[in-house]
Symmetry: C2
Subunit: 436 residues, 2 copies
């Protein structure tokens, strides 16, 4: 479609939602995407830009002049989206773009937002909000709101501040509509409200909004002055990203990839954990190599290597992922470290009993070595209990050390448990066959 | 704290958020929780009830009389939450509770909602909404809205319908405030709106609201009549649950468990996938048993069993989880089935080349059997390529068959790849050592 025919393409683009256009552009090369982009008009162009994945956007903005960026995109954007775009530019580009913005108030807002850490509530918030003074009447407020509302798509709450801009409470539009025009705002406000500080983490913001079912949350500085607001759509993205990151960790992928990405990106995201798996495999080969005598003397001992390794790995991943998910869900936790371990010990013991009995029955029926039957069952028992405790402990310790506990799920825990499981299996088998 | 002292406890409860109270109650036994519960008043009691996990709630509602349930909880709830609670009751309890509801309109709304499939948009929506007729003026509308707004916590949009209740568009409160009182609603409405049908899946609702950054979405029946609305807080729960389910699948857990749960629940959630792992292990033992001759004749062949199995498992999980995540994110996909496989083939070939070279180098340096060195490297190469393709194909096929593709992640794909990897390894080793 993307040969030359601007008119046809333009007509088609008008019917599409910005996110769909962004996805189409993601499939094109830079030149084609640029051609497509220049056909878009004002607000739509900026809506599309914000939907393009970050690394693509960076590549794309590099080929556009600062003036065009300022006039065609930034001026149509809310301050939070604009700050995200500007933040990604190179240092001298940043200044050039900020200077080209015609609306100096907007430029100032963006510059303010750039001061905040990207990972904090300040980096997520927008400056556009509706605020009224607590001493105004409903009538004055309605007039002021009409003025302020021009730049804002949707009003969820009206924030109430005092003369020094300290956040005093919120006011729903419903109250404004339903009360007589001469009422004082002071008497209508809801003052038992939820807010976050500018340096709160994205996770804290998401947790607060989810817990209290909020559509927007005000952001205040350390002494309580109103600085901005965060809306639920940004938080939905945070929740989604957080869940995706944990999912990627447990499945051994580094970085945010989708099957539509380029081959090289897909490969690169998979190599690091596989390398750990390879090193684990080599270590496992060393463990078995050190037990060469047992392997050659005990008939059938090698048969159960995959079983022991697989069970150790699966049990470990289960334990660690339950811990990680509990931490991620932000559920308040009444169990102490010790109680958690005791509980996991109970779970491990039951699981171990079930599966070592099963494998004992199987081997009792089909194997002709009673020693091997015992060695496999007892090894499986010990390996399962150990893998449960190990899988629970590591993420809890990482979390205490303020390291992302999700690091301890997936290939890491599998590999560790594989090796440790093999060592125990070999040791126990040798004990049964008196080869030590 | 929960001995007798009602007054002290009551005072403490007043300061707590419903969700915190729900978590405390989760830790208590049924009798203690009931005692605590009866201390709560009206609206707070119903807010707490809705935060209690479903299975706990069922246990708890059983011990309360229908009249109390109707008067103390249901009457304070929005219709969607009320329907969720009533849906969980046993058949005769359901009718008893519905009959005890004083507000017949509310009882009717709840009964209507119970007709919808719990997993559909109809099962998620609430009946409470603000609607105006397109022929009214702003002034009439404001008056009607004040009447309707009594039962509703927050107004996000005003829905506009015609005389037959067909959804014509939406109106933001902002527009109502900013326009002259004699304007006709017809001229103010936004008619390019997003809505869902009553039988849309939760996932479709979540995708639409996320894609278009909506705070609330109207639900219409098959001919377009307005039936209810779904708000973002319910959808955030859907997104969270969906992500958690995929996470549990990949880590081999069935059911929604947290480390705070009871030992038996934790164990039960882990047994099914471990059983599959055990069967896989036994199959693996059979495969190795059938190759007993090769294992005893070829020195060192057993050492690399864990390596081959682990790499096959890890690669398979990576491939399948990328597919599952791409499907779950709802990204529109322009790649055909064939193109996906070709891409995955490329990824698999690069990965295989990297790791078989690495293991070749290692064995070349440390092993004294050139045949074994070749056999391990070539097996690893083939196993990685195969595991990539397998991991990609299975979830894609499941998705085509309308089965949850997440089923094919985690222990399932690991176990399959373990066994197939072992078979290939044995076959290739035998070829190299001429034992076939």
């Amino acid at each position: 479609i993307e040969q030359q025919n601007s008119e046809v393409v333009k007509a088609k683009l008008e019917d599409l939602h910005p996110m769909d256009i962004a996805e189409i552009m993601d499939e094109l090369n830079t030149e084609e995407a640029k051609f497509l982009y220049l056909l878009l008009e004002g607000e739509k162009a900026s809506d599309v830009l914000i939907e393009i994945p970050e690394n693509e956007r960076r590549r794309f903005l590099k080929v556009l002049p600062p003036e065009l960026i300022a006039k065609q995109f930034i001026e149509y954007m809310d301050s939070d989206d604009a700050a995200d775009v500007v933040r990604d530019l190179e240092e001298d580009m940043k200044e050039a773009v900020l200077q080209k913005i015609a609306d100096k108030e907007q430029a100032g807002d963006i510059a303010d937002l750039l001061e905040y850490d990207e990972e904090s509530a300040g980096g997520l918030m927008a400056k556009e909000l509706i605020k009224v003074n607590e001493n105004w009447t409903v009538q004055t407020s309605l007039k002021e709101i009409s003025k302020q509302a021009e730049d804002i798509d949707e009003i969820y709450y009206v924030y109430v501040v005092d003369d020094d801009d300290f956040l005093k409470g919120i006011l729903s539009l419903k109250k404004l509509i339903l009360n007589p025009t001469h009422s004082k705002i002071k008497n209508l406000i809801e003052d038992d409200i939820h807010y976050v500080k500018t340096d709160a983490s994205h996770e804290d913001v998401a947790m607060a909004m989810e817990r209290f079912d909020l559509v927007a949350i005000p952001v205040v500085d350390h002494i309580g002055r109103l600085k901005g607001r965060i809306t639920i759509d940004d938080v939905v993205d945070v929740i989604r990203e957080e869940a995706e990151r944990d999912y990627q960790m447990v499945s051994g992928i580094t970085g945010d990839v989708e099957s539509g990405d380029r081959v090289w990106n897909l490969t690169r995201a998979r190599l690091p954990w596989l390398l750990i798996g390879l090193l684990g495999g080599i270590l496992g080969a060393r463990v078995l190599g050190a037990n060469e005598e047992a392997l050659s003397k005990i008939q059938g001992i090698a048969f159960f290597i995959p079983l022991i390794a697989a069970m150790a790995g699966n049990v470990g991943v289960q334990s660690s992922s339950i811990v990680v998910q509990t931490i991620a869900s932000g559920a308040r936790d009444f169990d102490s470290f010790g109680k958690k371990l005791l509980k996991e010990l109970a779970v491990g013991l039951i699981t171990a009993l079930v599966f070592s009995t099963l494998i004992f029955t199987y081997n009792f029926a089909f194997s002709n070595s009673m020693e091997l039957t015992w060695a496999v069952s007892i090894s499986l028992f010990i390996v399962i209990v150990f893998a449960s405790l190990f899988g629970t402990t590591i993420p809890l310790i990482l979390n205490k050390l303020k390291i992302d506990p999700a690091l301890a799920t997936g290939p890491f825990i599998t590999t560790m448990n594989d090796i440790l499981g093999l060592m125990m299996y070999m040791l126990i088998a040798k004990l049964f066959f008196n080869i030590i």
